[in-house]
Symmetry: C2
DNA sequence: ATTGGCACTCGCCCACCCGGAGTGCCACCG
DNA sequence: CGGTGGCACTCCGGGTGGGCGAGTGCCAAT
């Protein structure tokens, strides 16, 4: 008995099931794929695949459906990558290049990916922690309030206001100006990891009356760069869930929508997937480790950095999604997104 | 025949239907409400109400269901306002007051409203156009790029970057500083409507070499205050659509989700509703003028201004929603949101 | 105007049945 | 020993038909 053929059979089952959304039987398989053997042989192979946990039959006397494990084997060893056509590539690039600022780039990327995959797209904002700082700005708002603006080399702008009424009741224009200059000297062009120590030493250079102020500002900068670092997510295409695959979810898609609204869940998942070795990472069904997502798969890719990615972009769809196509789309958008951000 | 009783009947039908989600018949009505007449009489009234277009029966020999028109009459003349309990009020206020900045306030408000109504909540960011300016900041980013930061008295911060390479290749520190001071003198504490003329005159006070720069900056400020003025929307609770009322929508909830993703649609609607006289405005079914929303109703209220509202907050749910409850929740959250923003 | 009564209409539910797709197994073959 | 044709069996899905019950409209009586 040939192991190769069994894998061919699994591949055929996945491919057919993705298209028809119906359990696929042995006869249909030999008709639609040139496997060179009879349906009886396929039946034997199917029994073996079921034994191995790669497929199941919903009821006796029904065709087979891939399991999570079956999909996993499919994406790991069987999927043939689809290349994007040149016109598609050009369209993606052109669409992203037209963006006017970071918000616009992210917005365009997420809509584009939702459109390409006909699923739900997710884009994580470029990490502040891994970005380099371009500029720090302090603005005295009056009423003892100081605005801290942080600008990164990816174009991301983050702001925080700081209430100084208990710390520095009298805020002198000169102190602010001096602090602004020194902060920028220390911080510009560096990443957070290279920043903690120098920032900590900064306060020592100021007169004792101002040290509380300096420490407060430094603390806000550090907090913003760490706490909020992975926080922002943008979604698009939730309507695709209802449109294409209302029946892909056994009950309703309520739990899925809930999971998507809980950004914490997605952020944790994205974090886990960043640790995966490959550039494109796939989580199938239970591998998402979240109740609401057991009937979905999540394909993500890092973007924005040569060595370690700045953040991730991904697509969420039903278990029976077009894995090769989704992987190709996610990879392509990630690639061009990186290019646009670098340029 | 008493017109009053007919209205009572309509009210009873709406109230029952909202709870049971099933067509309500004459017998059930007299049992559950003390109308003091027999079911036969109710049947006559129902026939008249159907004649008037307020109710319909899905099939012959079924109970009656309110029409859009029936709901409209209900909210206009029949709904008895539910007062929020004091503990509820206190909880709302406390929850909103804990917010740390504008983004947080808006985020909390939208989640809170989604939770209270068990529907989809929408919050529009405070209008830039109607806000007063607190501060304008210019930051030289190098590489011929200038960052313009606009801060309003509601705490909203908006930023734009400006490419000056074609306008002012050599950007002097002094020019920027001078422009910053003058911009703030002119703009601080004013609203856009009071701002267009003075901003336009600003360039005249600069040497001719800098006028192009000044005009570019002024233009960006004006664009940001107008174009983007109503742009930002935040949603929450889309999962509630699937949870509570999967069967409230004849086909799927796909079209509804699509409409919600098209923020343009919601923005137009919010704009229209701002023109409505009352503080709380209700759109029922077709009144939304959007195909995807024909099976939903939209309850909104302005917030944040004594005379003209800064922006709107609202809740979207199925046609058969609890109108009095939703109206009460929307009004309450709007009120406390206004209070928090003003304080 | 209101009411009790009554004939009538349908939608819903359930039970039943049949066809067809698909399986597992077995005996047979190269 | 793997592959194949054949066959009995299972069981889902869909279609049919009948009874029930909720609800209506109408009418004659009060």
């Amino acid at each position: 008995m040939s192991d190769d053929r069994r894998l061919d059979v699994l591949r055929a089952i996945v491919e057919d099931y993705v298209v028809t959304r119906e359990p696929v039987g042995s006869r249909a398989l030999v008709e639609r794929h040139s496997l060179g053997v009879s349906s009886a042989t396929i039946r034997n192979d199917m029994a073996a695949l079921e034994e191995g946990g790669y497929i199941v039959q919903p009821h006796t006397s029904a065709g087979r459906v891939p399991t999570d494990r079956g999909y996993r084997l499919f994406v790991d060893r069987l999927a043939t990558v689809k290349a994007m056509s040149s016109p598609e590539k050009r369209a993606i690039q052109a669409f992203l290049e037209d963006a006017v600022d970071l918000d616009d780039v992210v917005d365009r990327a997420v809509r584009l990916l939702a459109q390409l995959t006909q699923q739900v797209a997710v884009v994580q904002y470029p990490s502040l922690r891994r970005s380099a700082l371009r500029h720090l700005e302090l603005v005295d708002l009056g009423e003892h309030r100081l605005l801290v603006v942080i600008i990164t080399d990816t174009g991301r702008v983050e702001q925080r206001t700081l209430d100084l009424s208990t710390i520095a009741p009298a805020l002198s224009e000169e102190t602010v100006a001096l602090l602004r200059v020194r902060l920028n000297v220390v911080a510009t062009g560096r990443r957070l990891s290279e920043l903690v120590v120098p920032l900590g030493e900064l306060a020592d250079a100021f007169p004792s009356t101002d040290q509380a102020l300096v420490r407060a500002v430094v603390q806000v900068v550090e907090e913003t760069l760490t706490e909020e670092s992975e926080e922002r997510l943008v979604l698009a295409g939730t309507a695709n869930l209802a449109r294409t695959g209302a029946h892909d979810f056994t009950h309703t898609l309520g739990p899925v929508l809930e999971a998507l609204e809980e950004q914490v869940v997605l952020l944790r998942l994205l974090g886990e997937m960043a640790d995966d070795a490959a550039s494109v990472s796939v989580r199938i069904g239970r591998e998402t480790h979240h109740e609401g997502l057991v009937e979905t798969s999540f394909v993500t890719s890092g973007y924005g950095g040569e060595d370690a990615a700045l953040a991730r972009i991904g697509s969420i769809g039903p278990l029976r999604m077009d894995y090769p196509g989704t992987i190709a789309s996610v990879r392509a958008v990630a690639r061009y997104l990186s290019r646009v951000l670098a340029g």
